[in-house]
């Protein structure tokens, strides 16, 4: 099936149940009441409202889900989770879609995935986030020299306030977590 934008099938090799199974399990008690949508500050920006997205998940409509901007626009405010009358873990469900979007390298979600990926690379190397390093890596990954300009006014003010430094700070302690990350990856792949 083609999505509204006419893009081709994203996951020809995967059955919807395999991909969405854990999510469907989490959401199967949804009664489509719309409380989540009514609680979401970002719903008006989403192409599918949260309620409709959950319906698509239960129907296994993988393509529509991953072509939609809905999960990328979730800012994790936890209002829907708090208010859902069935007590469903909806913010976690949005996170699961973000994880799948990153793993499957869904085109529309790529900037978000790269942003988070650059962040975690920095954590993996230093144990704590080095804000400047991770932003720089993010811009390089995005191959979009126009992006940093958007950040420049704030960047300059942060530099002026000496809150960030363009020089790597040698005195800061380092807690490399590469092996820790490797153990997590190994255990997760065993699943």
């Amino acid at each position: 099936m083609l999505s509204a934008t006419g893009s081709p099938t994203v996951y020809p090799e995967e059955k919807a149940e395999d991909l969405l199974g854990p999510l469907q399990e989490k959401l199967c008690a949804c009664i489509q009441c719309g409380t989540c949508t009514a609680s979401c500050r970002n719903a008006h920006l989403m192409d599918f409202t949260p309620r409709r997205l959950w319906r698509l998940v239960l129907m296994g409509q993988t393509e529509e889900i991953f072509h939609s901007k809905t999960f990328a626009l979730c800012s994790a405010c936890y209002y829907c989770t708090l208010r859902c009358p069935r007590g469903l873990p909806l913010t976690d469900a949005m996170n699961l879609l973000k994880q799948l979007g990153a793993k499957k390298d869904v085109a529309g979600y790529r900037p978000n995935a790269r942003f988070y990926g650059s962040f975690l690379d920095s954590v993996r190397r230093h144990g704590r986030i080095n804000e400047v390093e991770f932003m720089r890596r993010y811009f390089i990954l995005m191959k979009n020299p126009a992006i940093p300009i958007k950040f420049t006014p704030l960047g300059i003010r942060l530099l002026r306030k000496k809150k960030i430094s363009m020089l790597p700070n040698k005195r800061k302690p380092e807690y490399p977590l590469d092996q820790f990350f490797q153990r997590v990856e190994k255990l997760e792949n065993q699943q």
Partner: protein
């Protein structure tokens, strides 16, 4: 009284004034903050968007170190709401799910760490309002803040999804603390509305609209006080641009709660790092 202290990455960088003012405040209160040795990043909003196990294991690492520091120091105090939620989530989820706890410990074991679930994770606002309280603060207040009307901003993650110390929809825990300084509390509807969080980096036009609504809601107040570095930077970092696109002047001083309380307690402005805030705080100098 002593707390284990988890500052988190933001408080070492763009939010260092939150760290500095929190330490200054507790110093005056005579409460010791013992930093968790070799704590690491909580995963922020990145780990949960990439890997389920990582989003629990990363904060669990710092929790396990905190446990290894012994039982003589009390709860873990966390000023950053995002760190607080991640640490709390790791603690709660591993408590509920023994399989998850076993997997997390498999990751931790080669480092000689083991999570047992002994420590409580507390937000700074929880500790200030319940352990210290307005009464506890009152004896340290030297300067009345009566000329200020303050809008308390709670944001999301210290209130939701874990309902621990306040009403997640209509919180009030900051009010007695603000009133104790002599200041007034601005009544408004935006106190728990999301600031956009990391959408500010990924979808700035969306997040800036969210912040515009919050700043508009605070009109009439002299300042907004926050308890989260992400809220703080979103509320104060883009006021010029937001004012231009809203065709209205939405500039407003934004302070961390410990900075505001510290002023009332007569702590030196430099010791509260007021000069590091990105919003214009001249009304407080």
């Amino acid at each position: 009284m002593k707390y284990l202290y988890y500052p988190g990455c933001s408080l070492e960088g763009t939010a260092m004034e939150y760290d500095i003012s929190t330490r200054a405040l507790f110093d005056v209160l005579g409460i010791e903050l013992v930093e968790i040795d070799g704590w690491t990043c909580c995963g922020a909003s990145a780990a949960e968007a990439q890997s389920e196990l990582l989003s629990i294991a990363l904060p669990a690492r710092s929790l396990a170190i905190a446990e290894s520091m012994g039982t003589s120091i009390g709860d873990i105090l966390v000023p950053c709401s995002a760190c607080y939620l991640n640490l709390r989530r790791a603690a709660e989820e591993t408590r509920k799910d023994p399989d998850l706890l076993a997997r997390v410990n498999q990751v931790l074991e080669p480092e000689g760490l083991k999570l047992q679930g002994q420590k409580r994770v507390r937000h700074l606002l929880d500790v200030l309002s319940n352990d210290i309280g307005a009464m506890g603060l009152a004896e340290h207040i030297h300067t009345t803040m009566a000329r200020y009307l303050v809008a308390p901003y709670y944001g999301c993650q210290c209130l939701r999804p874990y309902v621990v110390f306040d009403d997640p929809e209509a919180p009030t825990s900051m009010e007695p603390l603000i009133l104790a300084t002599g200041a007034g509390v601005h009544g408004w509807h935006m106190a728990t509305k999301c600031c956009g969080a990391s959408l500010m980096n990924i979808k700035p036009e969306v997040a800036q609209k969210m912040v515009a609504a919050i700043l508009s809601g605070a009109r009439g107040a002299d300042a907004i006080v926050t308890v989260c570095p992400m809220c703080q930077v979103n509320l104060e970092g883009y006021q010029g641009r937001i004012s231009r696109s809203a065709h209205r002047d939405l500039h407003l001083p934004i302070l961390y709660l410990p900075q505001f309380l510290g002023l009332a307690m007569g702590i030196d402005r430099r010791a509260l790092s007021l000069e590091m805030n990105l919003s214009n705080l001249s009304a407080f100098f």
